[in-house]
C-alpha cells in the first residue's frame, strides 16, 4: 500500500502540489490523469525520492519512504520513463540487466544476460536486439526495452510515466496490453501517469484525477464515466468548456 498524505510541493511561486492525498492498495493498478503541468510526474518522483516534497508524508507498506535503507527501498521499485531513459552508452541487454550487473542484486554476467534476454522476449523483442544500442531502436522498441528494464529485477511496485506518449495507436495498444499482462502476472502494485484515455481503460483498476495540485476525484475505473465530477467529465470528454481552463 502506498499512502500519500497532504503532499505539498512548490517551485518558487508555482505551487504544483497543494495537499495531495492518495492511497494505492497493494496489488492494484492506479492511473493518475490530469492536464499537462498539473504535477503528476512530480507526485511520482516524490514517492521515489527523486524530488523532495516541501511537506506531507509518503509511506510504503506503513514505512516512511524518506527513512531507512534507500537501496533496499529502491530495489522494490521498477520504473518506465516517458522517453525510455535508456543509457545510450550501453547495449540493450546491459540496460535491461543494469540492476543485475551491480549493487545488492548483482548476478553473474551470463545469468544477468540470460535474464535480460528472457525479459526482452517477454516484451516481444527478439534476442538479436540484445546487442544493439538504444539509438538503433525505434520509439516503440525503446519503450519495450524500458519496460523490460522496469521488470528485470521483478519489483513489487512499478511506475509507468506516460507509457504511450509518442507512439502510434497500434503500438500504444501493444504497450497497454503488455503493461496490464505484466502487472497481473507479477501481482505488482502499479502507478501510471497518462493523458491517454485508451491507456486508462486498458491499464487501470482505479483512477485519480489531479488538478490544481489536489486529487479532484478517485475511484474504480468502472465508475469513471458516471462520476458526476465536472473535472473528470471534462477531461474524459476532452471538452474546451468546463472548470479546467483551456488556454487557447
Amino acid at each position: 500500500m502506498i499512502e500519500m498524505t497532504d503532499i505539498r510541493k512548490s517551485f518558487g511561486s508555482n505551487h504544483v502540489l497543494r495537499g495531495l492525498n492518495l492511497s494505492i492498495p497493494k496489488g492494484t493498478s492506479m492511473v493518475i490523469i490530469g492536464g499537462s503541468g498539473t504535477g503528476k510526474s512530480i507526485a511520482l518522483k516524490c514517492i521515489l525520492g527523486l524530488i523532495k516534497q516541501d511537506s506531507g508524508t509518503i509511506t510504503v507498506d506503513g514505512t516512511d519512504a524518506s527513512k531507512g535503507d534507500r537501496d533496499a527501498f529502491l530495489a522494490r521499485f521498477g520504473m518506465l520513463f516517458q522517453g525510455g531513459a535508456l543509457f545510450d552508452s550501453l547495449p540493450v541487454w546491459q540496460n535491461v540487466a543494469f540492476r543485475l550487473l551491480r549493487g545488492s542484486l548483482k548476478r553473474p554476467h551470463d545469468e544477468a544476460r540470460a535474464i535480460a534476454i528472457e525479459k526482452l522476449r517477454r516484451v516481444g523483442l527478439k534476442e538479436d536486439v540484445a546487442d544493439r544500442f538504444p539509438a538503433e531502436l525505434s520509439g516503440g522498441m525503446q519503450k519495450r526495452v524500458g519496460l523490460a528494464r522496469a521488470i528485470a529485477a521483478e519489483p513489487e511496485i512499478i511506475f509507468f510515466d506516460e507509457p504511450t506518449t509518442g507512439l502510434d495507436p497500434i503500438m500504444s495498444g501493444v504497450i497497454n496490453e503488455l503493461i496490464r499482462e505484466i502487472v497481473v502476472e507479477m501481482g505488482a502494485t502499479a502507478m501510471t501517469i497518462t493523458h491517454d484515455m485508451t491507456s486508462v481503460r486498458a491499464i487501470a483498476d482505479n483512477i485519480a484525477m489531479l488538478h490544481e495540485g489536489v486529487i479532484q476525484w478517485t475511484g474504480p475505473v468502472s465508475e469513471m464515466d458516471q462520476s458526476g465530477n465536472p473535472y473528470l467529465e471534462q477531461f474524459i470528454q476532452g471538452k474546451a468548456e468546463g472548470p479546467i481552463e483551456a488556454v487557447r
Binding site: F81, A85, F87, R99, G103
Partner: protein, 257 residues
C-alpha cells in the same frame, strides 16, 4: 543604488556558485574513498580522457614547441642570446606551456564532452533512471571521470612536454642550425627535478578541475537543448578559468616560496 544592487547580486551569485562547486568537489572526493567502485566506467573514462586525447595534445605541443624555438631565437638574437633556445624551450614547455596548454585542450575536449553527455543524460531522465536503479549518479558518473582525469592528465602533460621539446628540437636543428647532440645535452642538463614535479602536479590539478567542472555543470544543467548548450559552455569557461587560476597559484607555490 541600482548599479550597486546589481553588482552585489552578481557577487553573491558568484560566491554561491563557488560554494556549490566546492561542496560538489568535497562530495566527489568523499565518494572516491567509499565503495562501490565502477571499474568499467573508470576504464572507459581513462580511455576517453587519456588515450583519445593524445593526438590533440601531441599536435598542440609539437607546434607550440616549434613556435617557441623560433620566438626565442628571434628574440634572443636582439641581445646575442640565440644559444639559449634549448634551455628556454625546455623550461618553458615543462614548467608552463606544457601543463597549461594540455589543461586547456583537456578543458576544450574533455570538459565539454563530459558536460554535454551528463547534461543530456539529465534532460532525458537517465540520471533519474540511475537513481531508481539504486545507482548513485555521483559514484557512477562523477567519480570515474574525476579519478581518471587526475591520474591520466599528468601523463598527458608529460607526453606533451616531451613532444613540445621535440618540436623545438626539430625546428632548432632543422632550420636554425643547432647541433642535435648539443641541443639534447643542453635540454637534459638544464631541467631540474622540480620542473618535472611541478609540471605533473599541475597536470593532476588541471585534470581534477576539468573533469569536475564538466560533471558539475552537466549535473546542474537546465532543460532542453538550450540547457545542454549552456551547461557545456559554462563548464568549458569555468574549467579554463580554474586551470589558469590554479596555474598561477601553483607556479607561485613551486617557484617563489
Amino acid at each position: 543604488m541600482k548599479p550597486l544592487a546589481l553588482l552585489g547580486r552578481a557577487v553573491l551569485a558568484a560566491l554561491a556558485m563557488i560554494g556549490r562547486i566546492a561542496l560538489f568537489a568535497f562530495d566527489a572526493v568523499s565518494h572516491i574513498l567509499r565503495p562501490p567502485f565502477y571499474g568499467r566506467e573508470f576504464l572507459s573514462a581513462l580511455m576517453n580522457i587519456g588515450w583519445l586525447s593524445l593526438p590533440v595534445v601531441g599536435l598542440t605541443a609539437v607546434f607550440t614547441g616549434g613556435a617557441l624555438a623560433l620566438q626565442i631565437y628571434a628574440g634572443g638574437s636582439r641581445f646575442n642570446a640565440e644559444a639559449v633556445v634549448p634551455q628556454i624551450v625546455a623550461v618553458g614547455m615543462v614548467r608552463e606551456l606544457g601543463p597549461v596548454l594540455v589543461g586547456l585542450m583537456i578543458a576544450a575536449r574533455v570538459t565539454s564532452s563530459i558536460a554535454a553527455e551528463i547534461a543530456t543524460m539529465k534532460v532525458t531522465e537517465q540520471i533519474d533512471a540511475l537513481v531508481t536503479l539504486s545507482t548513485h549518479p555521483m559514484k557512477y558518473l562523477t567519480v570515474p571521470r574525476v579519478l581518471a582525469a587526475v591520474l591520466v592528465v599528468p601523463l598527458l602533460v608529460g607526453v606533451g612536454d616531451i613532444i613540445g621539446i621535440f618540436g623545438g628540437y626539430a625546428v632548432a636543428t632543422g632550420t636554425l642550425g643547432f647541433n642535435p647532440a648539443a641541443y639534447i645535452r643542453n635540454t637534459v642538463n638544464f631541467l631540474e627535478p622540480l620542473d618535472v614535479i611541478s609540471s605533473l602536479t599541475k597536470g593532476a590539478v588541471f585534470g581534477f578541475a576539468a573533469a569536475l567542472m564538466g560533471c558539475y555543470h552537466g549535473m546542474n544543467s537546465g532543460r532542453g537543448a538550450m540547457g545542454v548548450g549552456r551547461a557545456t559552455k559554462t563548464a568549458v569557461e569555468g574549467a579554463a578559468i580554474l586551470i589558469l587560476a590554479a596555474n598561477f597559484v601553483l607556479t607561485g607555490v613551486f617557484f617563489t616560496l
